[in-house]
């Protein structure tokens, strides 16, 4: 079906019909006319796997097993000529094959939107329950029998019989529930409601999975914003995607005089989103607040602006992020459409706008929605690798946009900053909400000037080991050799996957090559090589110290430094940081002397070499609106440190290191996001989240102690589930099941 043919060119698009909202909208006259929509996906490229039953492609596998009834529903074949001939099955609640089609189509559309913004393929996070992850935790040799990532996200459209749908980090899957609604009147049987038929729910859950794939530690509750951010971000994606549905937006705009800021439109949206499940997530509440405020305004009364400080519980915080982004979206839309109204001699809110004007306005709305979506998604790469807050997100969005689009004539960035300020979302460390003070500081390389010939090229050495392009001929890449044998260097078993030797991810001949698999191999190899480069210390202690300061990472042995560091900042590094113990008595040739020079006493005591993890090392090519392109290496490097509820324990372990088998009360993470401009090898940004920041540790301790979810998650990590599959500690691996289950 999918093989290129000699005479007929390959189709370029695959169109699949879906509900614009959900089935409920089809029985209301108001929305029925616009509820049929089409998702227009690009036809799978020659280097991608063909779409198979399920549907299954390189990104997703829809498995329609319904555990409650014990049945498989027959998988749809999207390549069936009858299905191809009619843009997929027509929307039909009663047909499980349509459910498979819709959930696949909307999830794929979300994936493509992310990929366009990120400039690279989307990958999925390794599930926490994966045998390889567990084997690694248990130091089991079998770990290498499993590949270190999952290729496809699973989607179970009928996974649960309950009013819930969630992304399961434990299974690497989206689980959609269905249930019988409450009878509305006597003798009513109650209708079945399927969460997998709700456009916004599918987009929301897919966004969770993508976000987790991009930022592995984002599913941990380390501050009041962390899980709220996950929720709100997924909602922003769902909301912005809504405004790219031409048909629907035209309808909405024509009914509201071309205005997005209209109580009527906002109320309508609020009731549509999550209507199926009655879930009142941040999105619905955000729209509720916005429409309340707008109602006031339309009654010529000045509304009270609700802000982040009105959020009493962590899960209330997300809505303010959604509001802020939506505000920015509307402001930009208004700015961009002012001329259209002026040219046609109309004003927003006028009753009878011409069809042509509505079409142009809907176009603009879609364009702005795409821009806002892109800005938000790109911002993800500019977040610190762990423990990010809403304020960090604002700074990340502004900086990422600044790097890609240096000029900002339409003042998108001002619109963002302004709406965040209005909702009083704090941006600590910034002088003001002016976009240039919100930008992350560029790295200060002046200290290196006296040492390096060209401090601008500090990263050139690291780049040598990285693969920047897919190798099309399938040749085996080389790995950077470590200077000595570093005891932290534990990549045994990875090689097989990197070289593709022992896995399915083997490059075949050109006709059958799969570049997604190749891309995964490249990522793994880059991660390993960057890790090697980062842990190899410089020959000079002074230079290595500079590196530590520049990247905000700890690479030298922990403890009290033997000599005063060149910069004032490096005091003793806490021994609570996860480290590999090195016995100086077993000193091996080739081990760097700087390790011994770094700390006192150093000669007889064990050396603690801090570990670091390269969570991702991705090459991204993104195009700006003016045709400018950004070609970047984006690496997230993390370290972890033992956190204790009792400050006295913390002090002891910071000073002496943990006692044998001592477990922390919680894990504290830090690290750096490193961005390198690959056009000239210049270090562009370093976004540090230092692991030795005690103030942040204290903040996390306070937060964890006062938050149910965070506390249970921290405990879950320790209790390890106790072998009981139903332990409460499932919070650790299924945080979203709880957040979403909140009715």
């Amino acid at each position: 079906m999918n093989k290129p043919r000699q005479t007929i060119p390959q189709p370029t698009r695959r169109r699949l019909r879906v509900f614009a909202f959900d089935p409920a909208a089809s029985v209301q006259l108001e929305t029925a006319v616009i509820n049929d929509a089409v998702v227009d996906l690009s036809w799978e490229a020659a280097w991608e796997g063909a779409i198979e039953l399920g549907p299954t492609n390189d990104y997703l596998e829809v498995i329609d097993f319904d555990p409650t009834s014990g049945h498989f529903y027959a998988p749809i074949d999207l390549n069936d000529p009858w299905i191809l001939g009619q843009d997929g099955l027509a929307p039909a609640e009663a047909n499980p094959q349509f459910h498979q089609q819709m959930v696949f189509a909307v999830a794929m559309r979300t994936i493509r939107n992310f990929e366009r913004a990120l400039g690279r393929p989307v990958f999925w996070a390794m599930p926490e329950d994966d045998p390889r992850v567990l084997a690694r935790r248990n130091h089991d040799k079998k770990a290498k029998d499993y590949p270190p990532f999952i290729k496809r996200l699973r989607i179970y459209p009928h996974a649960l019989r309950q009013a819930n749908a969630y992304y399961s980090p434990a299974k690497g899957a989206l689980l959609f529930g269905y249930f019988k609604a409450k009878p509305r009147f006597a003798d009513d049987e109650g209708e079945w409601v399927f969460t997998c038929l709700s456009q916004d729910i599918i987009a929301h859950e897919t966004a969770h999975a993508i976000l987790h794939g991009l930022r592995r530690r984002s599913v941990e509750a380390t501050n009041a914003d962390s899980l709220a951010f996950h929720e709100a971000f997924a909602d922003i994606i769902a909301l912005m995607q809504h405004f790219t549905m031409d048909n629907v937006v035209r309808h909405e705009l024509s009914r509201n005089g071309g205005k997005l800021r209209s109580a009527n439109l906002l109320t309508g949206l609020a009731s549509q989103f999550g209507q199926a499940t009655g879930r009142s997530g941040p999105l619905r509440q955000a729209l509720g607040i916005l429409s309340d405020e707008q109602t006031e305004r339309e009654r010529k009364r000045e509304p009270v602006t609700r802000t982040l400080k009105d959020a009493r519980e962590p899960h209330d915080r997300g809505q303010y992020l959604v509001i802020a982004v939506f505000d920015a979206f509307v402001t930009i839309y208004e700015r961009r459409t002012r001329d259209l109204f002026a040219m046609t001699g109309t004003r927003p809110g006028d009753d009878r706008l011409s069809e042509q004007l509505i079409a142009r306005l809907a176009d603009e709305a879609a364009k702005v929605a795409h821009s806002v979506l892109n800005m938000c998604v790109r911002g993800l790469d500019y977040l610190p690798p762990a423990d990010a807050t809403f304020g960090d997100f604002l700074r990340a969005v502004i900086t990422a946009d600044f790097d890609l689009v240096p000029e900002d004539p339409l003042k998108y960035r001002v619109a963002f900053a302004e709406s965040f300020r209005k909702r009083e979302i704090p941006a600590p460390g910034c002088m003001s909400y002016a976009p240039d003070s919100l930008c992350w500081e560029p790295p200060d390389l002046s200290a290196f000037d006296s040492i390096a010939a060209d401090s601008e090229l500090l990263f050139a050495d690291a780049l040598k080991g990285l693969t920047l392009y897919a190798r099309v001929n399938g040749s085996s890449p080389e790995r950077v050799k470590s200077k000595g044998v570093d005891p932290r260097y534990d990549t045994q078993g990875l090689d097989d996957y990197i070289t593709g030797r022992n896995s399915e991810y083997v490059s075949g001949d050109v006709a059958n090559r799969n570049l997604r698999e190749e891309a995964m191999r490249v990522v793994m190899r880059n991660q390993v090589n960057l890790h090697t480069w980062l842990i190899n210390p410089d020959d000079s202690l002074a230079v290595e110290r500079l590196w530590e300061a520049l990247l905000g990472l700890r690479t030298l042995p922990l403890g009290k430094p033997k000599s005063a560091p060149p910069t004032g900042r490096n005091h003793a590094s806490p021994k609570s940081i996860s480290a590999t113990v090195l016995n100086p008595a077993k000193w091996q040739r080739g081990w760097p002397e700087v390790w011994r020079e770094a700390v006192e006493p150093g000669d007889d005591e064990a050396l603690l070499l801090p570990r670091l993890e390269v969570h991702s090392a991705r090459i991204s090519r993104r195009a700006g609106p003016d045709g400018n392109e950004l070609f970047q290496l984006i690496a997230q490097v993390t370290q972890r440190r033992m956190g204790f509820f009792d400050p006295a324990d913390q002090k002891r372990v910071d000073r002496d290191g943990p006692m044998p088998r001592e477990k922390p009360d919680f894990w504290f993470r830090g690290g750096a996001t490193i961005l390198v401009d690959l056009r000239d090898g210049r270090l562009q940004r370093v976004i540090r989240q230092r692991i030795d920041n005690d103030t942040r540790l204290e903040r996390q301790r306070k937060f964890v102690l006062g938050d149910d979810v965070a506390l249970a998650m921290a405990a879950g990590r320790n209790d390890g589930g106790g072998g009981n599959p139903l332990a409460v500690s499932t919070l650790e691996t299924e945080p979203f099941a709880f957040l979403h289950g909140d009715g």
Partner: protein, 522 residues
């Protein structure tokens, strides 16, 4: 001053030790003003220990024996049952014979309004709660979670809820076995008809016995929304999944789609049996699924380093296998019951029940302050106190007294829910008197063994209590001498006065909250 009637001389609160559970005995001593004849009253508040506590049965029996030794075999004047959790009521069952052997266990029992069979709201709450419990027990049974106490304390304690709520099981009619029902019935029988009272917030009454204390009821809130909101939704949702009756089983297997969509069972895909009636397309599809998700996977036995060794294309050779499928990925298949469903409901019900806690403030004589017993009230319950209006009878006009005043007069605080993080409202604690003494019934080490999330007390709450009470926090798991030493280090004078009011024993620690000064006799 009064010239006739009873006069209270001392009020002492005894907290039983070494248990993660609540059992308090209030002793009021005094005399009759006219003839100076001494009299005493005894109030027991809760009697329980966490399910699965090793030796818990023996301990509770020792506690109850001690209680009746203390009353000299006389009935307690009052038993207060705050809420349905195991760690507050299990003692009534574990030491049932001792209670039953008393000529009369108590003169009266107080429950929260949620237990009142004549109260429609209470019945509605009980119905919703019963549903949720049924669903939970059914889920547990289906997933074969061992929740019976004796079988596996480790596994069961992880269930958190079971630890507090008692064993989860269904009876022959697939109704949940609620251990509490039996206990409540026993209590009603022991005190005899007419001696059971159900209290609602705002009520003002006097404790029974020779020496009565004025009592203000603060919680649980009457707001139905507040009590059943999360539970109602959860209960209804889970009810649909749970195998609660044989009809329910059929309903469960019922599909939302028409029968023609019931294509293959998991078993039919796993072990396909060729059938002549099967269409080629169906055959191809089920083979495809079988091949992808159920094909057994054999580990590679060739571990040679030479890549050539791994080139064989034998189906079961790991070098040829598709690693994203088959057995290594089997953990990604759906379980019968998603574990999250269970723990989600369990967590909800646990905190919901805590919020049904009966919360009482007892007045000390001569405006000397109040004693606050917060049971396991969580935030929602605490917040509701501030809108309570007090009335001496249902029809009487509301008293001027406000909850804020009651709190400001609080000199003794029984810390909520073993000191855990959401059972002491900061605003509430800050409002209490600056001359405050607190008691935490806990066993921190044992709690931590259940789960490291069980911080009892939570360090943050503990810090706030230490500050507010100037370190006068008596704990079930710390010898009183140790507490006194801490107070001493900060304020020797305070420590001396504090020590003079403390009684310490292997089985309990007690604190004299009120003592009439000699000159104050009426």
């Amino acid at each position: 001053m009064r010239e006739t009637g009873p006069l209270v001389d001392t009020i002492t609160v005894r907290m039983y030790r070494k248990l993660l559970g609540d059992c308090f005995l209030i002793t009021v001593t005094g005399r009759n003003v006219e003839d100076q004849s001494p009299s005493k009253s005894h109030i027991m508040i809760d009697c329980g220990v966490l399910q699965g506590t090793p030796g818990g049965g023996e301990l509770m029996r020792a506690v109850v024996r001690d209680v009746y030794e203390h009353t000299e075999g006389k009935p307690l004047d009052l038993i207060v049952v705050t809420h349905e959790h195991h760690d507050h009521i299990s003692g009534f069952g574990l030491a049932r014979d001792i209670f039953a052997a008393q000529p009369k266990a108590a003169e009266r029992v107080w429950f929260a309004w949620t237990e009142d069979p004549a109260d429609a709201d209470a019945q509605e709450y009980q119905r919703v709660y019963g549903h949720a419990l049924t669903a939970l027990a059914a889920l547990a049974e289906e997933a074969k979670v061992q929740t019976q106490a004796a079988a596996d304390p480790a596994a069961e304690s992880l269930l958190g809820l079971a630890g507090f709520s008692g064993p989860l099981a269904l009876d022959g009619n697939r109704k949940p076995l609620r251990g509490s029902r039996k206990i409540y019935q026993d209590l009603r029988d022991w005190v005899g008809s007419g001696a059971t009272q159900y209290l609602s917030p705002g009520q003002v009454l006097t404790t029974p016995g020779a020496l009565g204390l004025t009592t203000y009821v603060l919680g649980p809130p009457r707001d139905k929304e507040q009590l059943t909101n999360s539970l109602g939704k959860a209960g209804d949702t889970y009810f649909a999944t749970a195998k609660t009756s044989s009809a329910g089983v059929a309903a469960r297997q019922d599909m939302p789609f028409s029968p023609r969509h019931a294509w293959r069972t998991a078993e039919q895909i796993r072990n396909p049996v060729p059938s002549a009636s099967e269409s080629a397309g169906d055959r191809q599809r089920s083979d495809w699924l079988h091949d992808r998700y159920f094909r057994p996977y054999a580990r590679c036995t060739e571990d040679g380093d030479d890549p050539a060794d791994h080139k064989s294309k034998d189906d079961n050779h790991k070098c040829a296998g598709d690693f994203s499928l088959h057995e290594p990925q089997a953990y990604r298949m759906l379980d019968k019951i998603e574990r999250s469903q269970f723990s989600n409901l369990a967590l909800r019900m646990d905190s919901n029940t805590n919020n049904t806690s009966l919360v009482l403030a007892f007045d000390l004589p001569d405006d000397a302050g109040t004693m606050l017993f917060a049971a396991d009230a969580q935030v929602g319950n605490w917040e509701s106190w501030f809108s309570v209006e007090f009335r001496s009878t249902p029809d009487a006009p509301a008293l001027k007294l406000k909850t804020e005043e009651l709190l400001a007069r609080t000199r003794f605080y029984k810390v909520g829910h073993h000191g855990s993080h959401n059972a002491t409202l900061t605003r509430g604690l800050e409002a209490m008197s600056d001359d405050l003494v607190a008691m935490i019934p806990t066993d921190a080490e044992f709690a931590k063994k259940q789960s490291s999330a069980w911080q009892m007390p939570n360090p943050r709450v503990d810090e706030a209590l230490q500050r507010k009470t100037r370190h006068r926090v008596l704990r079930g798991d710390i010898p009183a001498a140790q507490t006194i030493a801490v107070v001493e280090a900060a304020d020797p004078d305070l420590a001396r006065a504090f020590e003079a009011r403390i009684g310490d024993h292997d089985l309990w620690v007690e604190y004299c909250v009120y003592r009439r000064e000699p000159g104050e006799t009426a």
